[in-house]
Symmetry: C2
Subunit: 382 residues, 2 copies
């Protein structure tokens, strides 16, 4: 077990109707004016917006609306919001939406207190020294951003889907009401399941040191996600399943699954980010395609762990059986497992690999993920 | 799944030699003078004391020594320390020791900023409004106090072993170096194992709502504790086992195992606290006696969960088999399972029950734990 530091000061307010108190949660931080970030006017149609502003008004918190953040969020929109935040002198960001809105909000929070280009933080030209306080109401469980200090944004000019991390970017309070997720489409439910499982397996398979206790905790998340996804496909209004799915999602990326590990990397993210950046493929859908292919390419490098995975998750014995069982499960729930399902084929490999080599460099795995390796994995995914 | 709030701002510094940086961890909080609390002069003999004061001095932090806190810590000692803390105008408490020193330190931290009697907080006469910042270097893994906001102290005049809880009592930084625990005696190792398992099962068996995901996380802790205890009995210097044991101990009582549960109680603690208060029985040893007896009395009230326990932990099927397997395992590792091992028998039941009825009232389970029930459980434990 490696030495580690763990610190996660985000307060979670989890459960039914918690969003009604958002003003009460924000007020103790002495906030007078927030930038209210969201995606589409869906939150106005379904009443969530009204609930939020009612609570803000009751607590004398002004708000400036910032609409139009899309999934696979883009840098141009972050720039735009930073300008508004600076001009309006907001004290905090309140994100209402899924991981894309929240990740953008983290970038906005950092950029609003920075004179330079916020992209500097993503490319390592500078580090975040400060950020506006971040609050959020989560409407989609997948990214885990609600209880961590990271964010991913795509620079659409350069096709770079890159990340920032800073202790300043932990949300102060995250509201997770599973009922707000009842309307998530079946497609986005299963993409989210793939996304959470990907968060779990990256370290699990790639770390050179991986405590058994952490293995067990990760497996408890994967089992829970698989079980509750199936229940939610059957009945999207199953509250307990929705709640366990959401909390498992939060736990998959709040730092606890990386305790005491060493040398882990994020190959599936690194590869999937190419697909999102180039073809706007939904992140989770891209991951369910990349994971089985990557696993088939990788398993012999850590066969004991792949056998453990097969055994603990599926009651099977060999690495290959475990990988196949995961792919079968993705097929069963209806998330893609082949590039062809996105209309992609060998003719796209060249441009995928071109961006991929840049990503590999950025992720610090350039020596491993060469052109030949990308070709091999893409062929396994085609 | 029930609504919940989760907030745990303690920073954990975990691993080899981390205690060498204690001054660096304290300094950012603008602390000039700490009350350095500890048990015996063992920490002076083994060199830990010197390491700590070296780092404090390097960071210009003054310290006042406060020695002599015992296991099953007593209120009189807390009073004594509060006087010193007030007189010396310390800015923080630095606890160096196990859960007893840390729990006392939390009470000292709360009492130092309070004009009344600190026992008021324990008996509900007042609530903690403020406390000195708490830091700690842990030398025994068992209580979980290093990452929660609770503390237990015995009022030796009234034989009440009671608790306080307040968000002000989260340690700011907890240092956990598993190597400092290598010298823990085999007895205290196995008592600690029982203590951690008790933390796990209280909610697991008594909650009226218990999410499956939380069951899985609890089981991952129990399995890890059992596995690593056996490894440590074999070789006390097995670093990875020591580290996983320690981190599992922290995770057993940092709030995450009670997420989304409802109506749980702490019957084993409630009963064991009698033994500690009356006979100064080591807390973990008392728990390994009470748990099997309590389980035999209780299992029919939640048989599905007891069958789950038998199956997940021991690969067995019936409630009774699971309980017997746990008792056998306690016997195997050498922690007591019968009152007679403390020299206690039926002649002690009257005084035990007298204190017990008071405890049950305090724990809010007075209606369930009547004289007859205590008798039944004690007979199962004799």
């Amino acid at each position: 077990m490696e030495n580690f530091s763990f610190y996660n000061p985000t307060k979670i307010e989890f459960g039914k109707e918690k969003e009604k108190n958002i003003g009460e949660y924000i007020k103790p931080f002495n906030i007078k004016k927030v930038l209210l970030t969201f995606g589409s006017d869906r939150i106005k149609k379904d009443g969530l917006f009204d609930v939020v502003i009612k609570s803000l008004k009751e607590n004398n918190i002004e708000y400036i609306e910032f609409e139009g953040i899309t999934s696979n969020p883009v840098l141009s929109k972050v720039y735009e919001a930073i300008e508004v935040a600076k001009k309006e002198k907001v004290d905090a960001i309140l994100s209402v939406g899924g991981g894309s809105v929240l990740d953008s909000s983290k970038a906005i929070a950092a950029g609003s207190l920075y004179d330079g280009d916020v992209w500097d933080f993503f490319i390592g030209k500078n580090t975040v020294q400060n950020a506006l306080p971040i609050f959020d109401i989560l409407t989609l469980a997948a990214t885990g951003s609600e209880m961590n200090c990271g964010a991913v944004v795509t620079n659409e000019k350069t096709n770079q889907k890159y990340a920032i991390q800073s202790a300043h970017l932990y949300p102060k309070v995250s509201v997770i009401n599973p009922e707000l997720m009842n309307t998530v489409s079946k497609d986005y439910l299963v993409y989210s399941a793939a996304d959470i499982i990907a968060h779990c397996i990256e370290g699990y398979f790639t770390a050179s040191v991986q405590p058994t206790f952490i293995n067990r905790q990760i497996e408890s998340i994967i089992k829970t996600v698989m079980e509750t996804t199936e229940k939610l496909i059957e009945n999207p209004n199953n509250y307990d399943a929705r709640a366990e799915f959401a909390w498992a999602s939060t736990c998959a990326l709040n730092g606890l699954t990386y305790i005491g590990t060493k040398d882990f990397s994020y190959p599936n993210y690194m590869i999937e980010h190419i697909l999102s950046a180039l073809y706007n493929v939904p992140h989770g859908a891209g991951l369910s395609v990349i994971m089985p292919a990557w696993m088939k390419w990788y398993y012999s490098k850590n066969s004991i762990q792949f056998e453990r995975f097969a055994n603990e998750i599926f009651g099977l014995y060999s690495s290959q059986e475990g990988i196949q069982a995961l792919e079968n499960w993705f097929n069963k729930i209806g998330t893609p497992t082949k590039l062809s399902q996105f209309g992609l084929n060998e003719s796209n490999f060249e441009e995928i690999i071109k961006v991929g080599l840049g990503n590999a460099e950025y992720f610090g795995v350039g020596e491993i993920y060469t052109k030949e390796v990308f070709e091999e994995i893409l062929n396994l995914a085609k």
